[in-house]
Structure formats: C-alpha cells, structure tokens
Amino acid sequence: MEKITCTGCSLLCDDIIVKKDGSNIEEIIGACLKGVERFEMISSKHRVLKPYIRDGDSLEEIDWDTALNKVVELINKSNNPLLYGFSNTTCEAQLKAIELAREINGFIDSNSTICQGKALNVAKETGFTTSTLTEVINKSDVMILWGFNAVESIPRLLNKILFSRGKFRMTGREIKTIIILDPIKTDSFNVMGPRDIALLIEPDKDIELIETLKEICCTENALPSNEVAGLDKDDFKRLQTNLTNSEYISIFVGQGLLKNQEGKNPLKSLFELIDIINERNKKGRASIILAGGHFNMMGFEHVALSNTGQNQSLSFNNHQLIESQETIISKIENKDFDLSIILGTDPISHLPMRLSKKLASKPIILIDNSRSGTYLIADLILPTSISGLETDGTAIRLDNVPIKLKKVIDAPQNLLSDEDLLNKIIEKLREKREGI
C-alpha cells in the first residue's frame, strides 16, 4: 500500500492509496471518477506506446531515432513554430518546454491562457485576494461557486472544503453555507441543504449582479429596486446578508465568468467587489480561488513568470523573450505559425472548429500518451510516460500551493517523461546546429 498524489485534476488529492502487485496497480482507494480514469490510462488498450508518422488517413509506426530526426527536420524547416498545451505535465517539463521555445524562437502558450489564466492577467492590473484550500477548510463559513460546477469539474473539492471540519469550523458542514450562482442547475446543486442558496442567474448577466453588489453590498438594508440578473429581492437579500455577515467568504470562479459580458470583464468587476467587501465587512474577509481543471494549469503560470517575468503567451526571437500582444487564439486565428508542437492537450477537439481547421492546416507534432482529436490529425506522434504516475515531478495546485508528485510505477517500454523527451529534442537540435 502506498499513499500517492492523484493527477486527475487540479485538486491534486494527496490522500489516494494504491495497492501494487509488482508493476501493476491492483487497487485504487479514495480516487474520484476523474482520478480513476487517470489511473486507467496506464493500462488502456488504446494507449499510445510507439512513435507514429502520418501517411494520409493511416499512421505508420516508426522507431525513436527516425521520430526524433523527423522532429528536428520539421523544426528546422519552420520559421514560426507554435508550442501549446503543457498544463497536464510537470513544472519541470514546462520549464523544458520554455527552453525549447527559446531555442527554436517559437511562441509558447498554455491552456491557462484561455481558461483561468485570464483572471491572472486581470489581476496584474487590479491585484486579487486569494486563499489556500487549507484556509478555506479551517476558516470558511460561506463558499460561493460562481459559474463553477465543482461536482463535475473537480469532484472531490466539496468533500474537502464543505464536508470537512476545520480548525475554526469544528462542527463542519452544518455551519457552512454554500451559494451557487449559475444559469444552469448543475449537479453541484444536488449537494445543497436547507441553509444553502441556489441562485439561477440569467445567462451573461453576472456583470449586472456584480456591479449592483459593488454599489450596495455590506450596506445595511440596502436592496435594489428591481430584479437583478434574474434574482428577485428575496434572493438578493439572502446573498447580501451572507456577504455582509460572514466571517470568511471563499469564492470559487469557474468557466462561467471568463467571457466578457456587455463589453465588460466580469473578473475585473468581481476582484473590485472583493476589495469592497473586505473594506466594508467589518467582521470578516472574502477571497477568490480560480478553479482551473487541468492538474498543472497553474504550474505554467508560475514557471513562466519565475523564469521569464511573463506568465503566459511567450514569444521568442534571437533566443530572447520579446514583447508581443499575441495569444494562442490570435496566433491560430491569423495563421501566424507554420508548425505546432502540442503537448498533453487536445486543441483540435477543444477549440472551435474555425480554429481547429487552421491548426490542422500546418504540420502538427503531438507529444501525448493517449488518443485525442489532435492525435487523429497530427503528422508526428511521440508518446511519453504519464506525469505523476510514471514520472516524479512538481505541480502547482489550484490554490497555488506546490505539490510533489511521486512516481508510482515504471512507464511501459521505457517511455521517456515529457521533460526528458523535450530535453532530447533540444539536444538533437543543438547537435544538428553544431554539426555533431
């Protein structure tokens, strides 16, 4: 029996027990559906174990030397390579990917740019108040899920923060209130009890609610004259009462708040609201936690920031970081690339078709251990070990806490880790350049 950290999502549960029989995992105890799926990938019959090159509709298996030579050939032909993904790998591999981008004068971005990383860009202007999960567990009496379906995105989050007993919340669930703001009644609504508040907000009207709250929250008996964003006066009053009288409000922000509404950025307004609550609420404080999904989405932000001074969308020229307003979206939209190197993600499936068609129009090198939409399009596929299960490393949890990942079993067929494969590519490129 061994206690390990799960890399099924950004919660990085470090209380998972595995029973091993030699090189096989016999039993997994404590993992959620997403976690179990991650473990099942180890022995999936569809797992990618060999390098492949595309020949029309079919994939041809090739040896590693041929594959690496092909990578070098494609990169050397490219004048404008694009590197994307890196939120399902370790911080060590992320660092190596930035080194590769610098080496080949490429543009590198992570999934975070189109997800919770947007909030960090807003925070550069406004700053923001955040918490660790330990603080939430120990102190929080009100938890707000705003545009965030915790039950299906980060399944064990509520077990940890809502149903747990904290240092200052010894009675646990019965003194914790959960408020859900969402246009859809998601599965997260099913955990609600009598003291909780379900608020079905009109689509794209979050900004209206936040702006109203900025005006009157934490002000005694202040209520709007009309319905706000589909919330009637009673609903608004209940929300207002909780924001005014709670000791520690934790707001988890999901995908629902990432898009501009009425020409305004709801995240910026929310950060301002938090500041206002913290100023007016004499009794307690409020903070925000960004609920990204991929297990090391926050990692790329930290690794990029600490190594280059910029947290995402890094553009290199002459092996130096240059100023650029580009993002992964603008690069693909403008077809401003001639090769893409994708690691541990599936942009062909996850991006709107308009972008996936453009991405597919140029050669794709895919580094991944499982099939995906991108796998069905990529010109060259390089498999690696599964980070955190077959490789040690570091990841940054959704609340910005670094967590050590421990290798559980050996990778099959001596597959390299993402970090080692990226390193090998860099070495090959340098050898070629130096004529070795």
Binding site: M41, R47, I114, N260, A360
Partner: protein, 124 residues
C-alpha cells in the same frame, strides 16, 4: 427553433475519457448528445426516436437528445467536445462556448460520426 447553446463539462460524457478508453467509431453515443427542456421538446414536436440537427453560422451537427427539467427553457446543453465545438466560435480574441444562438430542428438522420468531423477539420 432558435435556442441558446451552452457547452459544459459533464463527468459522464467526458471527451478525454472516451478518447483514452473508449472506441472511436462509437464515440458519438457518449458525446453527440444534447439536453433540452421538456417544454422545448413539446414545442418542437419531438419524439424519442428522432435526433436533433443543431446549426449556426459556424457549423452543424446531428446529436442524440434527452429531456431534462433542470435545463432552462430555450437552452440546449451539451458536453464540451469536438461535437459542441462545431458550433462554438471566437469573438474579440476570446472563445465563445456559452450562450450561443443555434437553430435546432428534428432530424431522422443518425448522429454525426467522429470521422465526418475529422474530415471536415482536415478540409477533405
């Protein structure tokens, strides 16, 4: 009928899982699915054996559907997947995958297969 499409993560219709562990030629069974309000079901004269043809200026797909009282009237809910992303778009440099106007009609054709979408992406 015009509805608003919302694509959301659904743990039981998880694209990564289907790609990693499932069979590609029947992936549409889990991912080409939409949820609509029973009132919209009635207004569109749908029956259980029909499918939904969902389209907008970005693309079109045919999907299975289920009625769900938790889905607000006027909304069609889909799991995030290569199917829903045939209808999503980019606006002002941002991906728009929620609250998108779509036309929804009954169809007798089977759900769109993965290989049809892949060919479209490859421009074949």
């Amino acid at each position: 009928m015009e509805l608003r499409l919302n694509s959301v993560r659904m743990i039981n219709h998880d694209q990564s899982k289907e790609f990693s562990l499932g069979e590609l030629d029947i992936m549409e069974e889990e991912l080409a699915i939409a949820y609509i309000n029973p009132q919209d079901f009635e207004e569109m004269y749908l029956t259980a054996s029909l499918k939904l043809h969902i389209s907008n200026e970005n693309g079109e797909i045919i999907v299975n559907f289920e009625q769900d009282e938790d889905v607000p009237k006027g909304t069609v809910l889909m799991p995030v997947s290569i199917w829903s992303n045939q209808l999503t778009t980019v606006k002002d440099g941002e991906i728009v995958n929620k609250n998108i106007a779509v036309q929804v009609e009954a169809s007798r054709d089977p759900p769109t297969k993965l290989n049809v979408i892949i060919k479209k992406i490859r421009n074949e």
